[in-house]
Symmetry: C2
Subunit: 463 residues, 2 copies
């Protein structure tokens, strides 16, 4: 056993440290399955004091650390590299205080647990995404997670009122305010939100809550033309204002491929572009009436080909199923996937979808590979496309690189972002410079060197 692991065991207790093969393997990868190598040990603190003690020791020993929440990331941020210590926050969980406007929560609490605690006081958390049952609040904050309702609530950053962070050297910065307005010196928490654990370990947060809106209407729409997506978005924003809570799109390549492979039903298989809209109101009846009036006006305006409004919660779930559960089924229905999570300016959304699909089809045709399935969907209300290439045979590194080069080339040409909501981690590092200039990357490195001079916190992530 290494000296630093021995020191950690002595300092925080042997029950916090595991190095059996099963634990090492389990903590080596994130949801992509990718790993950079096995960790030396898995350390699972039970208190913030434990985290501080572990970081102080790792700092003293120059020992690299991979910070882990629920390990649901999709770009290798929490996956370990050989020789790192996996610092898992999974035992540091619980809601410590809550009322209708905010909750104080430990970092290892899952997003679903935090959501339930909010519901129990008649309130709602503005963080929600597919991995909610496993993803930890600390990970959501460290990656500034997005999700299905960003159009309504903003990203995770917008939900964070207070934050506690253990710095690389073990010092604890604890600023757990419940107040919305604190212009009293630099807002240091912003440094740690979305910086992927490279600047500090999030241990606690105060998250804003909002009153639970009781009414909700869900509708599936078929547009006459994909180019009408922005017309539809503008009309929905005007009609529902801040009550528009989801605006999701699926292109026919996604609907056709995933319906066939999963059996999940969706009412409009052949629509040039399918949308799922959700809007809130004081009551279900009020929300449904507004949605129906909106759809009627949209049909008259000419851009809406067909639509259906859910008449029950069960029907709403069924309209969502293909979109919400499809991605979780990739590992069952494909031998491999090459996933993208990109932003482009609003006016270029349909262009990006078309060009990315064409690029992949061209690669497939040139190589006589029938088994590549480009699929496009996403949160287009936020200019965020998920573009995924489903593969019938596990892609080689070279195949993956060839496709990434083409797709990111399209993104860069359109002035887009190579990661919209998943982050950079280890897997998207080669493409960071397509979205950010040399001065920006230099400043990121300067901040990293300032706050983590020994480069022990999530080293080799982001840049």
């Amino acid at each position: 056993m290494s000296a630093v692991v021995e020191a950690i065991r002595n300092e925080v207790g042997a029950d916090r440290v595991a190095d059996d093969a099963e634990m090492l393997a389990r903590h080596a990868a994130d949801w992509t399955g990718w790993s950079g190598g096995l960790p030396l040990a898995v350390v699972r603190p039970r208190s913030v004091a434990d985290v501080a003690a572990v970081m102080a020791l790792c700092h003293a020993h120059g020992q690299p650390v991979a910070v882990q929440g629920g390990r649901t990331g999709l770009c290798g941020g929490a996956a370990t590299q050989a020789g790192e210590i996996a610092l898992s926050l999974e035992r540091l969980k619980g809601v410590e205080a809550i009322d209708g406007t905010s909750m104080t929560v430990l970092a290892g609490t899952t997003v679903a647990e935090a959501q339930s605690a909010a519901h129990a006081v008649g309130a709602e958390l503005g963080i929600d995404f597919g991995a909610r049952g496993t993803a930890a609040v600390g990970g959501a904050i460290s990656t500034n997670a997005g999700g299905l309702h960003v159009i309504e609530t903003g990203m995770t950053r917008a939900q964070v009122l207070g934050l506690e962070v253990v710095l690389a050297d073990g010092r604890v910065l604890s600023e757990l305010t419940t107040m919305v307005k604190v212009n009293s010196g630099f807002d240091l928490k912003q440094l740690f939100i979305g910086s992927e654990g490279a600047l500090g370990v999030v241990t606690r947060a105060v998250l804003a809550l909002r009153p639970l809106r009781q009414g909700l209407a869900t509708a599936a729409l078929a547009l006459t033309d994909p180019e009408e997506a922005l017309t539809a978005l503008e009309a929905a924003r005007r009609t529902f204002g801040p009550d528009l809570s989801s605006f999701e799109a699926m292109w026919p390549d996604y609907v056709t491929t995933m319906s066939a492979r999963t059996g999940f039903a969706f009412p409009f298989a052949d629509a040039p572009l399918a949308l799922i809209l959700e809007a809130r109101d004081a009551t279900d009846a009020g929300a449904t009436a507004r949605m129906e009036a909106f759809l009627e006006a949209s049909a008259e305006a000419g851009w809406l080909a067909d639509a259906v409004v859910a008449g029950s919660l069960a029907q709403a779930r069924s309209l969502w199923q293909l979109r919400d559960e499809g991605p979780a089924a990739y590992s069952t229905v494909f031998a491999g996937t090459i996933p993208f999570d990109i932003s482009v300016p609003a006016r270029d959304l349909t262009t990006a979808a078309t060009r990315m699909g064409a690029a992949v089809r061209a690669i497939a045709a040139a190589r006589d590979e029938a088994g590549l399935h480009p699929m496009t969907y996403g949160h287009i209300g936020d200019q965020n496309l998920h573009f995924v290439v489903g593969c019938d045979a596990k892609p080689t590194a070279a195949e993956k690189a060839a496709i990434e080069e083409k797709v990111y080339g399209v993104v860069a040409e359109l002035g887009g972002a190579v990661s919209a909501e998943h982050g950079i981690g280890q897997l998207k590092k080669p493409y960071l410079a397509l979205s950010r200039g040399p001065l920006a990357i230099e400043l990121m490195k300067t901040l990293k060197a300032t706050l983590d001079p020994k480069n022990i916190l999530n080293p080799g992530r982001v840049f």
Copy 2:
């Protein structure tokens, strides 16, 4: 003339540089009238390249710079110290691009000009406060300005999609994205928002716009008891959800004193607590109907003593006048004021108001000073109180310090913030440590030294 001013004149042109007595005096102070001394010269760039050239020269010469927008700040952030160069962005103005979802704007554009440009495309900017006609967008960003609608839109930080900043050494960090979701490396713009010009000079920004909501209802309310303020707030949040756009409170000390001295009318002079509420909807009629139903239910619930809903825009303006125009009248109706802008946790709002008022009355009684008028009002939906002591005689520094010590003592005891939305500047520096811990202040200084190693950008502000 100093060597650096001469160098700036040669580099960017003599028409950018002024050092006549009138200009120096005009640019020495902010809206408080306070100044730390006259600047060496006033430099007014006409382009971002000018700003970069000026900063490069000042960096080379170790020349301190005071960054100025509309100089409407209330804590001496933009007021100069003797020997500084006043770098005024007032000529760097204009909206460069706009559509319904965002605008790209130069930093010297006033908030009112940006609002007008948004209205012209049927959209709305989520930044609004009393100084809108003079305050510059760059200043609003650098101070993370709040205002009357934070409960609906969030602070200025939440409106910034992209930012361009000239660093202390003249390098230009330009990240003018229009996209909502960009988790591609650290979100560097967050460093510069709200750091009061100490880390960089904001030159351009992309601001998010939202669709203009046509309907609005305005109401004035008299509560039965100030302790019911949080009951009222919770009820309003539940009823109006994200359509609640203002929730302002005035205590009787403010209403009585300011009504008498300005002649501005307000319907409830003797209410234990008066509120002004605004809520939006698709139409005025819809908004008014919701507001009336809310008030009826509130009267039945027992905490509402009386209320009036504006029946016209003119009537709405009249309900707002005492709250909106009162503060601008201070300099006419008092010989001096001692202003506070604090946050406290929601449950402590009425306690804070009571204790701050009592503290000032105790000081007044002990000194036999009848001419001190404590007045309390604020954005209590955001836990933000403005507490102002109106003085019939100009207060001495000792009187001011005695009152500040008492009031900030109350704030610190309640775990509040010494500045909620105005910032720290030069005037609140002595009190920063009441709101932020030693490690936080050390980190601020580390960031400052990293990004501005010669300490030339707004030196001596914040800490």
